[in-house]
Every structure is written in structure tokens, then in C-alpha cells.
Symmetry: C2
Subunit: 162 residues, 2 copies
């Protein structure tokens, strides 16, 4: 079967996307690190934990929600525990299970970092695109995620309420 190459428009879209994403993720990570000593992956975990009932989640739930491997979550949570951002709590109902639980310190760290992070996201992405382009972005990446990981959508991506 001959390759169905990308046409010029598609190639432009693809390259713009990788280049923009490389710059964007690097910037957000750097801003968080410099101002609050958090990496972007750590920040994302803090957010998920802060939104969870009792501020805790099973390791696998974290892994699923941020789309990282379990191994990676183990390592990252271990670092966060060393930094006092989370506790690890044995799950009583499942002897294999472990909860990562947001500490007060961790919560405060998130509260401190959030305004700065939101400002970065706005400055670099949200505020430089039109409303309808943002809507297109949502559709595009919802479709992408659904194609690559069907049936595991973030609740916020389907419900309108926070």
C-alpha cells in the first residue's frame, strides 16, 4: 500500500503542533519550577488530589487520570512524599492498594502555585487564541484522547459543571 502522505496543510498543522507544544510545555514547567519548585507533572498530581474526595487517590487512579505509567507515578509520588507534599496511606479494603493523600503542606503549595501557573497558561495559550479556536482545541484533543485511550475520559471533559 502506498503511503498516504500528509498534504501541505496537514504538515503545517502537525509541525506547528509539535513545535508549539515543545515550547509550551517547557515554558510551563520552567515557570512552575522557578517560582514554586514544582514540575508540571507534580503540579498536575496535586490538582487531581485536591479535587478528589478526602484529597486522596489510589496510585492507579492518579496514573489513569494523568496518563502516566504506574511506575512513573510511584517514582513521582515518592519524590513528592519526600518533599512533604503527600502521605502514602495503605488501603484497608484492598491490601495491595495505596492511597496518595494530599498533606496540608501539599495543598498550600498548590494554592500558592496555582495563580502563577494559571497566569502562565493564559499568557502562553488561552489568551493568545480566539474562543472558537479554543473550542476546536477541545474537540481535537478530546477526539485524540478518545482514540488513544477509549473510555477513560476525564470527568471534567464530559460534564459541564466543575
Amino acid at each position: 500500500m502506498p503511503t498516504n502522505w500528509l498534504d501541505v496543510e496537514q504538515q503545517r498543522a502537525w509541525r506547528a503542533y509539535i513545535v508549539g507544544t515543545t515550547l509550551l510545555l517547557e515554558r510551563l514547567d520552567r515557570d512552575l519550577r522557578e517560582s514554586h519548585g514544582l514540575s508540571l507533572p507534580e503540579y498536575e498530581i496535586l490538582v487531581r488530589l485536591s479535587e478528589a474526595p478526602e484529597r486522596r487517590l489510589r496510585m492507579a487512579e492518579i496514573a489513569d487520570s494523568v496518563k502516566n505509567s504506574r511506575s512513573r507515578i510511584t517514582h513521582t509520588v515518592a519524590r513528592m512524599e519526600r518533599a512533604g507534599l503527600v502521605d502514602r496511606v495503605q488501603c484497608t479494603s484492598d491490601g495491595r492498594g495505596v492511597y496518595a493523600h494530599l498533606t496540608d503542606t501539599g495543598h498550600q503549595r498548590l494554592v500558592d502555585a496555582a495563580p502563577c501557573h494559571v497566569a502562565s497558561v493564559r499568557a502562553a495559550l488561552i489568551d493568545v487564541v480566539a474562543k472558537d479556536e479554543l473550542a476546536a482545541l477541545t474537540r481535537v484533543f478530546t477526539a485524540v484522547a478518545d482514540g488513544l485511550s477509549p473510555g477513560t475520559r476525564d470527568p471534567i471533559l464530559t460534564a459541564v459543571s466543575s
Copy 2:
């Protein structure tokens, strides 16, 4: 100044984007590795070199075009050289300069990998998105890249010809 938080639509867009991007980049990288033993960053470098005059670029040109640090390019090109994909050639006009030059092996490797990679990009992104959404994607990330790295746009992103 009170934080200008993201509204629900903006939050949906942002989360869809990170989650989708995490899955997408991971998938493309994995596909390339498994089928052709290349990482996505390596593949991108091969593409840039293959398009360059005489199939060679200065280290800094590579770094700029893929938006990676020079240090990272040094490391990545060193690995690629070990793998026989590129040569390193001392620049005659500037004693400090080094060219990375695509070898025949490297070019063949790219030719072999390209159809597979394009198929992955199509399956995961291009073919799951409408034409106008793709155009929006281009606009969004061109704006993002321009905001974060003004004045260093990829030629393909401004010219219509390949």
C-alpha cells in the same frame, strides 16, 4: 491582583490538550521505537537534516528548528552518530562550528520509518479531526510558538510551498 482563573470552557480545553498530548506523544514515540528503533526526537532531527541543503545542519540550527536545548542536541546527535545515522563534520568557515550530516544509513532509516510514522500521525490525530479543526490547530500553535519564541518560525509554517 486577584487571579483570573480559567472558566469551565478554558479548563476543558486545557485539560483535553495536556491529556491528549501526553497520550499522543507517547504513542508516536512508542510506534517509532518499536517498529524502527527511533525516538520521536531523533526522527524529527532526521527529517530536518533530510530537508537541509547537502543534508547537513549546524548543531545550533537543529536546536532552533526542533526547539530543543543545544545540550540536548549534542547528546542526541552523539547517540545518533553512534548508531551511524549521522556524521559530525567540522565547519571550515567557523572553527567553533559543527555540522551534523545525514549518512546514507540515516537517510534510509528515515525513508523506512516515514510511512509508519505518517500512518501513526494520521491514525491518532489527522484523520480523527475535521479540516477546519486542523486549520484551527495550526493557528493556535503558530500563535503559541510565536508568543514563546518570536521570530523563529519554521519556514514551512509561513510558506505554502513544501
